[in-house]
Symmetry: C2
Amino acid sequence: MMKSPHKNSCVEGYRSTCPIANVLDIVGDKWTLLVVRDLLMAGKRRYGEFQESPEAIPTNILAERLKRLEAAGLVKKELYQENPPRAEYFITRKGADLGPVLEEMGRWGLKHLPGTMLPEQFIAPQIRD
Amino acid sequence: MMKSPHKNSCVEGYRSTCPIANVLDIVGDKWTLLVVRDLLMAGKRRYGEFQESPEAIPTNILAERLKRLEAAGLVKKELYQENPPRAEYFITRKGADLGPVLEEMGRWGLKHLPGTMLPEQFIAPQIRD
DNA sequence: ACCGACAACTTGCATTTTGCAAGTCACCTG
DNA sequence: CAGGTGACTTGCAAAATGCAAGTTGTCGGT
């Protein structure tokens, strides 16, 4: 039997050995990095705070992305109250390491997308592992 | 009539004034940045070359992404033969400016996704505007 | 004690995007 | 002139997205 024409002897669950391709499997969509941005650059922690961002993420997508980010180890969920369950979300060190990616995206947007702007103040995140 | 709760007096077609959000509207999916990677770091130019990458992009997605990248001004399509029509794709200066974003993604992946690796040799792109 | 509001989600469903397979079209090669 | 090749296009099923509405327990006021 003929093998596929692509040399794909890579780690289980990886599309290839390329780090960029595999990063995109985690954050490669229109919403995930906006949640990371809010955690990392705006100091947001609560579900309701993420919803207040001007891009108006749909609530079901937000819930799903928080779960995926937690599963990927970029976010830590902590209950601060049992009943009713109320949680706060913190970025991990692994998630915080995406900072430079966001910074470069911001730089590109500012240069090439007229009318875009960054806030004058960033709010430092609490990192929890 | 009540306005939306989000202060969205931003440029036509923008989700918000945030550069990151608007960059994600251009490259925020699993495939687009892989095409940019191939153009920018692997020196690829032809349709068939993009298909040979180990991630095996579906052919219809490749065609659609090349069109969108051209429409967004990140890629320039040039026919090198009329009949049958044969084209080469070049990255523009605007597209090449995404280099740092890819570099930071690569750095993150190498650090946090064990088993990933970058090629030892990059092939410099031809930039055309 | 009851009413409404609230925070943090969940569910249902229509629309859109993705993924896979197959088809096309005009050459080129033996 | 039969088969192969490069660069796509088309069709369709499956998955992701977007929107609206519903749920659950609690708190603040009257």
